[in-house]
Symmetry: none
DNA sequence: TTGTCGGCTGTATAAAAACACAGTCTTTTC
DNA sequence: GAAAAGACTGTGTTTTTATACAGCCGACAA
């Protein structure tokens, strides 16, 4: 990584700011903290830190600075040698027409033990709504998804119909696909493959839930 | 503190946002996450949370939301800065009288991103049986557990009664504790603390499921 | 019945913040 | 000895973001 002393100071300030005030600093805050006279000084430092992998910058986002684990004190030895995969991406809102793993829609990366899921997932997707309740898939859960365009009957898939991404149980009979919810309150979706387009984005291979045990 | 369910959802979202993206959300981000049509909805919720002491708002500051420790589950707060252990142990068969984390009963270690669960869990436990079905906890799931001897009403706990380890929703009224299943087929367990011994091993803070989406 | 609270919609607007462009002056590094 | 990196100054412009104002509706308490 190899930061210059000045860059280390800036990074240190960001980490302290985060701990003390609960959010990363803005360019302006860096400017006043260091007595700069131009926002570009802060901007340049941030770019340098991002380039060196100490932080991640989110374009167009206020306080869009993310301190990467590798930069945190206590980070294990220099990762320079080992090609550590940088984790499984959490895919956020998926824009119309955009491929699922477009970088713009990746909200975070999680380092997960690969042996946890079988097969290894390609991305995580946050579940919205109660439609898969009876399959133990609740809103807020992260669904681990293996990318694959093929699905077999009975599998839980991530499908896309036009702009809408949905998680459902897959069932195909000839040219008619039915996407079944695991909740009697939701009607099955019926897609005629000869008329409508259905894209299978992948298959659910696992699930992660953080807390959220508030509801029965 | 006493938040309404909706307020708790908002707070939960803020905490998750903070963990996933490294900064608190803006009003606009809350709006899109919850599907509101007006920024005021988010504003009002933030004001309510601030009034109730769950968060602190910094006027005129973007993402000026600070989650107060008192609001964090387990109030463990510093989870993000803890040294990385060599993984979270998966506790297997628990022998009678043995402490939960006895090395003999540890079956595996999984390396997990610490920002995935709040607070950070101390061990994983394989769920047996369908008694928590309606809470989205299915047999075979790995329950992430934070060790703590205290539980609050409504929380899902890992409890031990004699030799038996069980996962249930906790409810205490005076000296009477009821352990409630999330499945009408299972009767609540009733424990009189003055007569029987009940050990709370910890609180459920998350869940991991590998595949197992075979049942509806 | 008249509040007050919770949970919203809808419209504005001022301030905060990101970030581009154009330079200057060192210090490294090839 | 020239190019590249580092550490800045100075001046905008465009988005984001916070937040005010004016309501609506249902629940619940005095």
């Amino acid at each position: 990584m190899d930061l210059t002393p000045r860059q280390a100071e800036i990074l240190d300030f960001i980490v302290r700011h985060l701990a003390e005030r609960g959010a990363p600093p803005t360019r302006a805050e860096i400017v006043t903290a260091f007595g700069f006279r131009s926002p570009t000084a802060a901007e340049d430092h941030l770019r340098a830190l991002a380039r060196k992998g100490a932080i991640e910058l989110r374009a167009g986002t206020s306080r869009g600075i993310r301190v990467l684990d590798a930069a945190l004190p206590g980070a294990a030895g220099e990762a320079a040698n080992e090609p550590i995969p940088d984790g499984i991406p959490l895919v956020g809102r998926v824009a119309a027409g955009m491929p699922m793993l477009a970088t713009e829609s990746v909200e975070a990366h999680y380092k997960l033990d690969r042996t946890l899921f079988h097969p290894a997932p390609d991305f995580l997707l946050r579940v919205q709504g109660w439609s898969m309740r009876d399959a133990g898939i609740l809103p807020g859960d992260l669904l681990a998804v293996k990318r694959t365009p093929i699905a077999e009957n009975g599998q839980i898939v991530v499908a896309r119909i036009g702009d809408e991404v949905t998680v459902k149980r897959f069932e195909r009979r000839g040219a008619i696909v039915r996407l079944l919810a695991a909740n009697p309150d939701f009607a099955p979706m019926r897609i005629d493959l000869e008329r409508e387009e259905l894209v299978i984005e992948g298959r659910a291979v696992g699930l992660i839930r953080d807390g959220g045990f508030s509801l029965a």
